[in-house]
């Protein structure tokens, strides 16, 4: 469905991601994890054509995403980023209706098929009772559902999510994740998301891709990828990985910072030095 190969991405000539390959098959849920500043959100931006890469290609359904007309991409792929602005008076229904724009010609307005899709998206995200409320009066969880409804109204085949649960309490987190899982099972929606919570990534993904300092570290099923050694290498955290006795799902319990981290107090600056070296080498 999505194939990224040999991606090199830079911000203002500073290398953020280097030589990164990734494939996502149709109907899969893939999570991108990695420490802050590892480049996972950057990769997501390039996969969604929000940003251009300096080198490498991204193919959507076998075609170069940067050569496809942007409106055509919008009918196949939707990205939900982290920060949103909405004019203060937009209602949920109005916002969701915007999801139909990729399916309209510039002079067309909403038709009955569009409104039934909007209705469906609102129901799917359980926003029926909030549909006439203005976005700015909603709580964080409700707002996230409203934006998800907008993405659904696009009827994409691929949904990209940038930390969809970060600002939510645990109940709303589970609600959003369950919704995503449901959409994946019911519609065969392909999902790629950036997550911070390793347990969530383990519980809801078919595959996990680990990225650190802009490079691919590991990828595979949660069981094969998430090991104590990996968490030590990537996050510098000492953690215990086990299977939950009831759910059978993998979970990770952080015990503390690993010794290497405690000794090397300037973790962030070493990361920076490495990246600068990469830059000079280029």
């Amino acid at each position: 469905m999505i194939a990224a190969s040999r991606l090199t991405i830079d911000y203002e000539r500073k290398i953020a991601v280097e030589d990164f390959d990734m494939t996502v098959r149709e109907g899969e849920i893939v999570s991108l994890i990695g420490p802050n500043g590892s480049g996972k959100s950057t990769v997501l931006k390039v996969l969604s054509r929000m940003m251009k890469s300096r080198g490498g290609t991204v193919h959507l359904d076998g075609r170069d995403i940067h050569k496809l007309p942007t409106a055509e991409v919008a009918r196949k792929l939707s990205i939900l980023s982290q920060n949103h602005v909405t004019p203060p008076d937009f209602t949920v229904r109005e916002l969701v209706t915007y999801g139909r724009i990729p399916h309209q010609k510039w002079y067309e307005t909403i038709n009955s098929e569009d409104s039934s899709v909007v209705e469906w998206a609102i129901q799917k995200t359980n926003m029926q009772n909030l549909a006439e409320r203005s976005i700015n009066t909603l709580s964080g969880g409700e707002r996230q559902r409203a934006w998800l409804a907008l993405a659904l109204a696009q009827q994409p085949k691929v949904l990209l999510l940038d930390e969809p649960t970060t600002f939510l309490d645990i109940c709303h987190q589970l609600e959003v994740m369950a919704l995503i899982q449901d959409l994946n099972a019911e519609l065969g929606l392909t999902v790629v998301m950036v997550l911070h919570d390793i347990n969530q990534a383990a519980a809801f993904s078919d595959r996990i891709v680990v990225i650190k300092d802009g490079r691919l570290v590991a990828e595979g099923t949660p069981l094969t990828v998430l090991t104590s050694q990996l968490l030590r290498d990537v996050y510098r955290v000492e953690a215990e990985i086990a299977l939950h006795p009831h759910s059978g799902k993998l979970y990770c319990h952080a015990l503390g910072l690993c010794r290497a981290h405690r000794e090397e107090t300037h973790c962030v600056s070493t990361c920076h030095t490495k990246r600068t070296e990469a830059h000079i080498a280029n």
Binding site: S48, M50, A74, V85, T86, P87, D89, P102, A131, E132
Partner: protein, 346 residues
């Protein structure tokens, strides 16, 4: 009690947004009626006053009366010109506020006004013999200034903040030039002052014929920008995600806006305030959806400028004031009132 609340909630669900649509249409119709009323009142007053009946018969009967002469040859073209310019400037401001995602954006920000002013003032002061060229030259000056601002702001795409900064810098530079000329030729400044503060005095059918075709073209272009303007309000990422070519849309919208402002400025001089305030008033009244906000802005812009022009020629008659001054005095307090009240759509 609970049951009742549940029932009301259900009713709300069953009527998706119709109440809001009805309210919006109501506002548009009300403003349209006000527009007609304001137009008639404007035609009545001037150095001679007429009754509404006289105005109507002057407009629709062929008899050659004094009222008909004054109304048809002097007041009507002036009214139409004020209406067109008001609509142009308000739409221009509304589009720019979406492009820049900044509530302080107004047509002058693109450099169009100061560019037009510098060239117009140069002709009026240095080459007064070529006064007839002022509209054309002002338009060229405005266009060049806009191109300069966008050229300076371009960096792998258009960033609103860079446009604003480039606009401020170019405005300061060109404004300085205008001030310098005004000082050097202070003996000839009288006519220039009227132009710099915007005036519709002495404009005739000739000017209407000059402005109307371009305005119609600009207004059609603006209507075609509605969808993009709405999308840009949601932020670049969301707009891109929904298939909008953000950079192209920014350039197109700004040029439509600059074009509308440019043609207006070149005919009547610098009129501030309409482009900045009217979009806000519309947004407070009818919400941020450009499908409704843009037509309302056009009508309110027309109304405001017609009222201001009527006041400009009557309040201190026989002295004519620049319409820009009246507008600031009338419109400022009204806007502050709306801002305090919060508006109907909040």
């Amino acid at each position: 009690m609970v049951e009742m609340a549940a029932r009301t909630a259900q009713q709300v669900v069953r009527a998706p947004g119709y109440a809001r649509l009805a309210k919006r249409m109501g506002i548009l119709v009300f403003v349209l009626l006000s527009f007609v009323a304001v137009a008639i009142i404007s035609l009545r007053f001037g150095s001679l006053s007429f009754t509404s009946g006289e105005i109507v018969s002057a407009l629709f009967s062929e008899t050659d009366s004094l009222a008909r002469n004054i109304v048809m040859n002097i007041r009507l073209p002036r009214l139409i010109l004020a209406g067109i310019v008001g609509a142009n400037l308000a739409i221009s401001g509304a589009l720019l506020q979406s492009v820049m995602r900044n509530p302080l954006a107004d047509p002058g920000l693109t450099g169009v006004s100061t560019g037009a002013a510098l060239v117009a003032v140069t002709i009026m002061l240095v080459f007064p013999a070529y006064g007839g060229l002022v509209p054309l030259a002002a338009f060229v000056g405005g266009t060049l200034a806009v191109l300069l601002v966008y050229f300076l702001a371009w960096n792998r795409g258009i960033d609103p903040v860079r446009i604003i900064l480039a606009g401020v810098a170019v405005n300061a530079l060109l404004g300085g030039g205008t001030s310098l000329l005004s000082l050097l030729y202070s003996d000839r400044i009288q006519g220039v002052l009227m132009w710099l503060n915007g005036s519709i005095a002495g404009r005739s059918w000739y000017h209407v014929r000059m402005l109307a075709p371009y305005s119609i073209f600009g207004l059609i272009a603006a209507v075609m920008c509605i969808k993009s303007a709405n999308l840009l309000q949601l932020g670049d990422d969301v707009a891109k995600n929904l298939g909008l070519k953000v950079n192209v849309a920014r350039v197109v919208l700004s040029f439509v806006a600059a074009f509308l402002a440019g043609i207006s400025v070149s005919v009547v001089g610098l009129i501030g305030f309409v482009g900045l305030i009217i979009p806000h008033v519309s947004r407070l009244l009818i919400g941020s959806d450009y499908k409704f906000m843009l037509p309302l802005s056009a009508m309110l812009g027309s109304i405001l400028l017609i009222i201001a022009d009527t006041a400009a020629r009557t309040v201190f008659r026989p002295v004519e004031l620049p319409v820009g001054i009246i507008m600031a005095v009338v419109g400022g307090p009204f806007f502050l009132y709306l801002l305090r009240k919060g508006g109907a759509m909040r």
